[in-house]
Symmetry: C2
Subunit: 277 residues, 2 copies
């Protein structure tokens, strides 16, 4: 069965989906995106994703009506036989098609493209933890916008893969910000520490869920920058994201974190996370 | 007559040109581009553009055979009736179409898209100069790569246009780097000053031509960072680029540069530049 995607109001076989090469998404990366995971047919934190999407659109002065996307995604899951599987929806909205000019054209119609895919939890990795590398955070200074201008993220993630690692932790001026497509949280002396929500990091929704779990369970959750040196000295390390969920990091570059096994607080947060989904 | 574009080996009417929404250019801005100006049917500094393209491709570990592009562009100009006009070729190369994943897929076929357009010199502006604004340089830290990951450039250029200006000068940590799609050069006491070629600026080809003119005419050309304060105190200011050529800046934000008219050294550089094209 051919995969069905959604493009500008139509459901169609992926091989029939086409956009103009003059789409500003293709020419300028002038667009935003989101990925939502579906557990047992239900989206997890859909409203949070929509709120973040609205913020990203607003930052780009891009007008798009987001109501009704939930219905579109339900149909997409249905048409692709993923209704009751662990799956995810990816969608992106670009400013639309126009003669190439840097400034924002008025009155053009945004492009929306969405597809679904099976996304089971990475069970083994969630259990055993993963290795990561570090790299200078070479991205722009509006990482709070979930834009498709992702070339640096792909370059840095690619470095991780080429080095036999699973993610790349980003360090800007000595401070740990996040990873190429996940948030990073450290555990030190029973406290969870992560970068505050500034222009340098995406407001991660899994990060937010972990925050809520901490508050509910009286675990101190500290939003403050920490350094590369502190990174290596954490008792536990976690990356969090829609696909990675609550993923233990057991090694950064050549250095083991803690005793090189996922820690107790990480396990606790995982358990609480999976109770919610 | 319909516009003819070039896409993956074919010349076709623009309205028939289509790419997959899974092209990594659309999903990740995973691609590079160039723009070359043609004067009297001849490309200006074509070899420099090809060399820079090769460097950009190499930085992205993207393999693409660039030989023969000159013939493609000649045909495009011919087909669009621009053979003997002042025109430009825009082309971009992306990694190609693949299921979405951040790391670089192996063995996929790059996408190439090219189009031509009339591009006469901005005669009035070259004569009278333009106003610009300034803004924090929010771009990534590999501005030496001419990538299509241009969202910040579009946002900042859009601010210029909304403020009745023609470009936006970018300032990183107090240092003037370049503009959203041009190099910036200052003139102070008869010397030309511009940011050195680091990861923070594109190696501009018009900038290089100005450098050569300076060397030939014994004008001191100094590559060193200068501050925002020094920017306002320059005797003359120039932005340089394929489309803007050698463009005088007469006002930055609310402040006039020099006496608010294009200066003598700017005029000299313009004259020498247009002798070359």
């Amino acid at each position: 069965m051919s995969e069905t995607v959604y493009l500008n109001g139509e459901f169609l076989p992926k091989e029939k989906a086409s956009i103009s090469p003059d789409d500003r998404g293709f020419i300028f990366a002038d667009g935003v995106y989101e990925v939502v995971k579906y557990y047992k047919g239900k989206p997890f934190r859909f409203d949070d994703h929509i709120m973040r999407l609205k913020n990203s659109l607003s930052a780009l002065e891009l007008t798009f009506e987001v109501n009704g996307l939930d219905d579109v995604f339900d149909i997409l899951l249905e048409k692709n036989g993923l209704k009751n599987k662990e799956a995810a929806v990816y969608w992106q909205i670009t400013r639309g098609v126009n003669k190439r000019m840097h400034n924002f054209p008025k009155n053009i119609k945004p492009t929306i493209y969405a597809f679904v895919f099976e996304l089971p939890s990475f069970t083994d990795k969630l259990k055993n933890g993963i290795k990561v590398i570090t790299h200078d955070d070479i991205r722009w200074l509006r990482c709070d916008i979930k834009s498709i201008s992702l070339l640096p993220n792909t370059m840095l993630y690619n470095k991780a893969i080429e080095n036999g690692a699973e993610e790349c932790i980003l360090i800007r001026n000595g401070i740990v910000t996040e990873a190429t497509h996940s948030s990073i949280l450290g555990v030190k002396n029973g406290k969870v520490i992560t970068h505050p929500l500034t222009n340098l990091v995406l407001p991660g929704i899994s990060r937010k869920v972990i925050h809520e779990i901490c508050v509910k369970n009286k675990i101190e959750f500290i939003e403050k920058p920490f350094t590369e040196e502190e990174l290596y000295e954490m008792d536990e390390l976690i990356i969090a994201g829609t696909g990675t969920e609550v993923m233990p990091i057991i090694q950064v570059d050549k250095k083991l974190i803690g005793d090189g096994k996922p820690g107790n607080l990480t396990r606790f947060l995982q358990d609480k996370f999976f109770e919610l989904v």
